[in-house]
Amino acid sequence: MRCGASPCFTIGGTFVAEMVHCVDLWGRDIVLYEDIWEDHIIVGHAIMDGYEQYIESALTKPDVMTRDADHANGVNYYRARALPPPDDRQYLKVCVRFEIDSDSGLRSGIIVTMYPTIGVKRSETIIWLRKTS
């Protein structure tokens, strides 16, 4: 449930602050919550610590978007060379789960994980590919 004008949500009765809020290529709101960042993403992928500012570009200017192989509501965003050295030769993969917002009826997404990866997972279905000039 969205809590007024402040950038936070309530989950299980506790307030959770938004860390990143942006709109993807298809006009969908995507949010990263602070607790997911600290308690899930950084715990599993410590390499992401300090890379918060690069998340938005992966969502707004991805090179590849895929449908997740295991979650019907999951979309993965890949952006090549999104991170600074020494991690600049990989893709940044951002995994988003979409839901229909009960208030607005619009489709919105929550970032559940992200990490640098060598390539696009072969079992995922490509749904969008950046055109090369």
């Binding site: 715990v43 599993g44 295991d70 020494p86 990989q90 990490y115 060598i118 079992s123």
Partner: protein, 132 residues
């Protein structure tokens, strides 16, 4: 040799004798149903090399060493498929309800296969049992 789009590198073989069990960190993330295995502690920066739909290697891109594993859909798919992972789930602190639900998805044949594998593992150096 690993070649992915714009990146090519030689992956160093993982030497099992270099792994100190005391340094291994195993964590489970319930939000993404992912098991993280940090073979050399949690300090190593790791990039993910996805081997198949659910199994990935954690690679230190400075040294090209495998420093861990990442198993996705761990309780939903991998544990029912590999019942021997149940003990890993317990070690990783997966809650009892999730473990119980995974147990229910283990087919009798999978359960028996797991027992046979365990027996072969226990007696692998004895002459009584042969085969891989």
């Amino acid at each position: 040799m690993v070649t992915e789009d714009f990146l090519t590198f030689e992956l160093k073989p993982l030497a099992r004798d270099l792994i100190d069990p005391a340094a291994v960190v195993i964590r489970y993330d319930a939000l993404t149903d992912t098991l993280f295995v940090h073979l050399f502690g949690t300090d190593r920066r790791a990039t993910i090399l996805e081997m198949d739909n659910h199994r990935s290697l954690r690679i230190d891109m400075q040294t090209h060493e495998v420093v861990g594993l990442q198993l996705e859909c761990f309780m939903e798919i991998l544990v029912p498929r590999n019942p021997q992972f149940l003990s890993v789930a317990e070690l990783a602190g997966v809650d009892e309800a999730t473990i119980a639900a995974a147990r229910l998805r283990i087919s009798p044949d999978r359960g028996k296969q797991s027992i046979v594998d365990s027996i072969f593992g226990e007696f692998k150096n004895d002459l009584l049992l042969t085969g891989t």
